[in-house]
Amino acid sequence: MPSLGADMEAGTLVEWKVKPGDEVKRGDLVAVVDTNKGAIEIEIWEAGVVEEIRTAVGTKVPVGTVLAVVRGAGEAAAAPPPAPAPPPAAAAPAAVPGPPPPSPALAPPRPGVRVRASPAARARARELGVDAASVRGTGPDGAVTVADVEAAARRPTAAPIRQAIAAAMSRSNREIPHYYLGTEIELSATLAWLARENERRPVTERLLLVALLLKAVARAAREVPEVNGHFVDGAFRPADAAHLGIAISLRQGGLIAPALHDVEKKALGDVMRDLNDLVARARQGGLRSSELTDATLTVTSLGDLGVQTVYGVIYPPQVALVGFGRVQERPWASGGKVEARPVVSATLSGDHRVSDGIRGAQFLAAVDRLLHAPEGL
């Protein structure tokens, strides 16, 4: 079970797209997993032959659980490895049956957390699907009682996707020292070019301004690599491509930010086509696992909702987030004259562990410059 986000602890296997004996290659979709971000299609990163399915459809398992065994090219078929011994770790001289898979309704216990709870309270927690480790105990010395468990079960809980957002954003505010920069970008030449471009394109290939904004952000990120990558294990790892996370609102509520890959390399028409496809799959189901994990820099645009300026929260382990507001006519001074011009607010939320204001400013200046030459995007 892959980790499809910093907040993910488990997922439910809902469909296998392969069976033992099937040949698979890198990038093939092999399964569908249900997570708090919806149903996600899982890609495989190895080539080989499916040897054994280890997790049945309908089972909820923790991140890291083996779902299937794939025999690589050139490898002989082998007996399945012995199931891992339960902690404390011990040598396993022979294959031993592993523990039964967790019930789909019961969250797996958090490793390393000792729960002070009576046997009755533990049993009641299992019945109600409550994580006893997450319950505040009111019994002697803070022990969790049956009443505590039942109260926790009655407490309204947020929808899974809201829980995922809460976890990620809370982690971001705890771990990432944010700084914020903003600029205004005058768009009259850009929009005029876009209108001329759309006149010559068939309706099915029309571009929206968002495609130009994304392309400019991706190209600018290559000029200022400190905004594009991941902060992991105390160090920044710059990305070798701009996989832009696209903040997409879900019609049932919530937000998801799947990756649009290699934006700096795509033609504008391909950015638009792939963006359309990504938004449709985000809202209807069908996102792929790589799209949930690969984003190197996220872009959010709230202009359609009338928002003028966005000060976003960085999605860990990314190190920056770009925000665009509404394009609106504003007084603009140029050449000694003041005229009404279309202007958009662009902001950068930056991780101060990785970049300083001057590099952030250079990034926004690059976005401005690139948007002023749309024919080059």
Binding site: A195, P202, V203, L208, V210, R251, L275, N276, D304
Partner: protein, 92 residues
Amino acid sequence: MTRDEIRSVVRSILSGIAPEVDLDHVRPEADLRDELDIDSMDFLRFVVGVHERLGVDVPEADYPRIRTLDGCVAYLDRRLSAPAGAETGGAS
């Protein structure tokens, strides 16, 4: 094609974009973006849907004329009734 048939096709296109919305409660004179909570990408999908289902290519300059359900039906009725190559004219 009658106006009722056009309205039916338009509602069908919109229901594919905002499936959770009860179109019977959409105010026909109100902006579709507000009534259906659709963004610019959804609106472009709507324009593409109109092209694919009715064969009408709505230029960007005419987008303001199809922002409401009533306006959209009236606009498409004029376009479908006009001789091929005729200019669209008049307010929605």
